[in-house]
């Protein structure tokens, strides 16, 4: 029978077998944005019971997502033509979060960025370019256009990392040292790649060196001096790229600085060793700045007295204007007179400052310091701070009038102002006291900033950027704005206040079991969902209460003690409440009309914020395990459809309607750094229902089989009729 089957029948059978065998197919991620997903309350309400979680695609944020001017500052250089400072940020991280910030010291402002470029760098004055060691190669970026003009990759083998860069401006060569340390047996190796700044190409390589810790160009003899952590120094003649000499006698050299006034090299050095004295082993640390005379190639002396441990001094730079060496060690920066070895001035109380950069235009010295720079003025002997954009950003709010985002610096006194159009920090609002909440009132064009330290709510007129009032005696972290009524709902010790956005006065309050913390607003129906916060006077149970936002009447009340709600948001599409639950309990989907828990979505561990995204209809849950993750929930199926990895622990979120992005405040509460990230609103493939897919697959397979049988039967009947004709002819 099968010999008579037609090709079409074969194809149909194949399709049937394929569909039946393969069953439901899973969707693939898509970057295409789309609109709302049409859903209904009844659809969501059918999903009762705890849902299982499937392995999901986890995506990192697309570049550039990090909103910062300065972050994990590293190397920097100065363009002597413009006086601009080029500062490397987030070296070694993903391209989306690494950038070079261009800072104008005259205006004391950031004037531009070179995105995706960060690392040890030198400035090539001849071509107006910075050369940055990045990844396994180097990037050449034009400082006039801010554009990358060339990338040389593949210089360093896998596992090697760049450590040091130096420029020979005479020969136009960049020396890039890549180091490698293997595990057992320990081998410290270094390879120096030599790049031509004119050709934007690697022209030579020197290998077989020990671990390179510093390189300096001696403008007087034209040689490069390469310091090795093993205590030696190699002399390279860049005219021929030949090793022309070596010297020893250094004790743990780090960086090298050339002093054109005395022709010496100054090497910040530190080392530690264990000594056995009468059976007692103790660690002995040596630290100082070794003076190397390149004319005799000998260590001519050491500047000591830096009071350091075994890890410093680390960085050194020479200021030819005030003729001092600036030496950075573990806790301080010291200005030392190289001729007398006298300490001129010192900035103490720091934590691992450096690298150091001398600015030939304003004769300042800059020291990288955490998420910013220290600006050392040698004449006035003053220190100023540059950057330090964030101090544990906690809450965010969106200003729809100006397309701006405000982020509170919780361990500081400021609120960061971000331009939503450019995703750049455009300023700071000052004068707060550990601000931990921020709420925008579009009707009054005012910003309400909660001050955690003094339990007040500052009111800022955004027309003048001045604080125009304050509401005392509030729990400032619990503030929500209702666009329907134009009121703010503010948590207090005894309940919840209603503040008029127009008059900035308390127009009502509700007293409950302890304080009431507003969790979510339903501006469609005029409801506010609040959680009781038990205190000494009113211990547990914890209640979730729905109020009518117009008259504060209680619509329903449920005992939510066992849930452990930490945050919540209202989904206007299915009219459910999504509440993040503490301690790995996931997310509770709560019917907003009754307070009944419809289902729990497992996955999140410590949710800190829930947000409904109106552009794609998803619910986003910020979760704090590890570095942080955003769970994306499709309310139609109440399933987690995607995860977005975050670079730090998330706090609060805000939605920007203008660019359809979610702004997430990131940072550990105990660390004075952090940043705000913009998460784009993407459409993710909905996880298809297995039942639907199986029905489709079986239906398709059966249909294909039927088609195959019909085609085979028609073929057989045609062959039979042809056979009858043949019999008649014969």
């Amino acid at each position: 029978m099968w010999r008579r089957s037609t090709p079409r029948a074969g194809a149909a059978v194949s399709v049937a077998v394929f569909l039946l065998a393969l069953g439901p197919l899973q969707g693939t991620p898509s970057d295409a944005a789309n609109g709302h997903v049409a859903r209904s309350a009844s659809q969501a309400a059918t999903n009762v019971g705890e849902l299982s979680i499937q392995p999901l695609a986890v995506s990192a944020l697309s570049a550039p997502y990090g909103i910062f001017n300065f972050k994990n500052v590293g190397s920097s250089v100065v363009d002597p033509g413009t006086g601009y400072l080029y500062v490397s940020n987030n070296e070694g991280s993903s391209p989306g979060s690494s950038r070079t910030t261009i800072f104008d010291p005259v205006r004391s402002s950031v004037v531009g960025f070179i995105e995706g470029v960060a690392g040890p760098m030198v400035f090539d004055s001849a071509h107006g370019e910075i050369v940055v060691l990045q990844g396994d190669g180097a990037v050449f970026a034009n400082t006039t256009t801010g554009q990358v003009v060339a990338i040389v990759s593949g210089l360093a083998p896998e596992g090697w990392r760049h450590a040091v860069i130096a420029l020979d401006p005479v020969e136009g060569l960049v020396y890039a040292a890549y180091n490698f340390q293997s595990s057992g047996p320990i081998w410290l190796g270094s390879t120096i790649d030599i790049l031509s700044v004119r050709l934007h190409a690697a022209v030579a390589q020197i290998s077989g060196l020990w671990w390179t810790s510093g390189i300096a160009f001696d403008a007087q003899d034209g040689n490069l001096y390469v310091a090795s952590v093993l205590g030696g120094m190699t002399v390279i003649d860049p005219r021929k790229n030949a090793v022309v000499g070596a010297l020893s006698g250094l004790d743990g050299p780090n960086e090298v600085a050339f002093n054109p006034d005395d022709g010496n090299l100054y090497v910040s050095s530190s080392n530690g060793r264990y000594v056995n004295e009468n059976g007692t082993v103790r660690e002995v640390c040596t630290g100082g700045v070794a003076i190397v005379d390149p004319r005799t190639r000998r260590v001519a002396g050491t500047i000591t007295g830096f009071h350091v441990g075994c890890n410093g001094p680390n960085h050194v730079v020479y200021d030819p204007d005030d003729r001092n060496l600036y030496v950075a060690n573990e806790t301080s920066i010291v200005a030392v007179d190289p001729s007398t070895h006298a300490f001129r001035w010192e900035i103490s109380g720091l934590g691992y400052p450096g690298p150091l950069t001398y600015d030939p235009v304003n004769h300042h010295v800059y020291a990288a310091f955490g998420d910013g720079l220290l600006d050392l003025d040698p004449v006035a002997r003053q220190v100023a701070s540059i950057g330090q954009d964030y101090a544990s950003p906690f809450a965010v709010a969106y200003d729809s009038s100006r397309n701006r985002i405000y982020a509170t610096n919780r361990v500081s006194t400021s609120v960061v102002v971000i331009d939503g159009a450019t995703n750049r920090i455009v300023g700071h609002l000052q004068g707060f006291s550990s601000p931990d909440s921020v709420t925008y009132d579009p009707l009054a064009d005012e910003l309400f900033v909660g001050n955690e330290r003094n339990y007040t709510l500052s009111i800022v007129d955004l027309g003048t950027n001045r604080t125009v009032g304050a509401i005392p005696n509030v729990l400032p972290w619990g503030v929500l704005y209702d666009s329907r009524s134009g009121h703010l709902y503010v948590s207090t010790d005894t309940g919840m206040d209603v503040v008029s956005g127009q008059t900035n006065t308390i127009i009502g309050n509700v007293t409950a079991y302890g304080s009431l913390s507003p969790m979510a607003i339903d501006s469609v129906h005029g409801r506010i969902f609040a959680l009781t916060e038990p205190n000494v006077t009113y211990p547990a149970p914890i209640h979730l209460i729905a109020f009518d936002s117009a008259n504060l009447t209680v619509l329903w009340e449920v005992n939510a003690t066992d849930l452990g709600i930490t945050c919540a948001a209202f989904d206007p599409l299915n009219e459910n409440l999504y509440a993040g639950l503490w301690g790995g309990a996931g997310i509770a989907v709560i019917e907003s009309t009754t307070g009944r828990v419809l289902t729990r979505i497992p996955g999140s561990f410590l949710p800190t914020a829930v947000l409904f995204n109106p552009s794609n209809g998803y619910v986003y849950v910020a979760d704090q395990p590890g570095s942080g993750v955003l769970w994306v929930i499709d309310g139609a199926s109440n399933r987690v459809i995607h995860q977005i990895a975050l670079p730090d622990e998330p706090n609060r979120m805000a939605y920007d309607d203008a660019n359809q992005a979610i702004y997430v405040a990131l940072g550990h509460p105990l660390e004075s750094s952090g940043l705000v990230a913009a998460v784009p609103s993407l459409a993710y493939p909905a996880e298809s229902s297995p039942i639907t897919l199986w029905i489709g697959a079986i239906g398709g397979g059966v249909s294909a089989l039927v088609v195959a049988v019909v085609l085979i039967r028609r073929r057989r009947s045609r062959l039979d009729s042809e056979g009858s004709r043949d019999d008649r002819h014969s």
Partner: protein, 224 residues
């Protein structure tokens, strides 16, 4: 008339199946050796400079070889051996001078390889005739010309680009005082340059031998 596979030495083979004569084999091996040497010469150093730099009581030894496409060096200083490799991108005069030598060396190899191929064909066919010898002679001429062009142009170009402290000579030694102390330099042709000369000699000898081989005539088939 019948043919036999047993023929006296030196007699012309007239059947494709007849094995090559010892002289043919010598020509083939000589040409093959020349091709191998030419291939190696493309990669090896054509010009070497050994520099001893004295500083105080230490000495740094730089043993440098310049090839057709780049240079490499081993540098020895107390406590360290470094390896250096580089290209000629920064030196336009050297690049320009080496371009013609690169072409000549490549042609030497290609033509020489052709000579070998046709020599192999000639051991089985009659039609190549004197072509292998002509190609071999051409390869020899290219090798000689390449070696001479390199010897006459490279030192001058390198001197013009500042690669060397010494003059434009192809062979010599000098003791001078540089910014990095007194130094002694010895320079001259590298083994790859000598190798190219050897290639020329080998092809010359092989080609002349091939020309002196008895010519090959086709045999009449039995029955004709």
């Amino acid at each position: 008339m019948t043919d036999t596979l047993e023929k006296p030495l030196g007699a012309a083979r007239s059947h494709p199946g007849q094995p090559a004569s010892p002289r043919e084999l010598i020509v083939l091996v000589t040409m093959g050796l020349a091709v191998v040497v030419a291939l190696a010469a493309l990669l090896g150093p054509w010009f070497t400079v050994v520099t001893y730099r004295y500083f105080e009581n230490t000495v740094a030894i730089d043993n440098r070889g310049y090839g057709l496409f780049g240079y490499s060096a081993t540098d020895t200083v107390p406590g360290m051996n470094a390896t250096i490799s580089g290209n000629y991108l920064p030196w336009p005069s050297v690049r320009s001078a080496l371009l013609s030598v690169q072409i000549l060396a490549a042609l030497t190899l290609v033509v020489g390889l052709s000579a070998v191929v046709f020599t192999i064909i000639g051991t089985r066919r009659t039609w190549p005739g004197p072509l292998p010898a002509i190609l071999g002679l051409s390869s020899a001429a290219l090798a000689f010309v390449g070696a001479v062009v390199f010897a006459t142009t490279f030192p001058g170009a390198a001197h013009a680009d500042g690669l060397f402290d010494f003059g434009a000579s192809f062979l010599g030694s000098a003791s001078v005082t540089s910014a990095n102390g007194p130094l002694t330099q010895t320079w001259g042709p590298g083994w790859a340059w000598s190798g190219l000369l050897s290639v020329g000699v080998l092809f010359l000898v092989a080609s002349l031998s091939a020309l002196r081989l008895p010519s090959r005539r086709p045999l009449s088939e039995p029955g004709f």
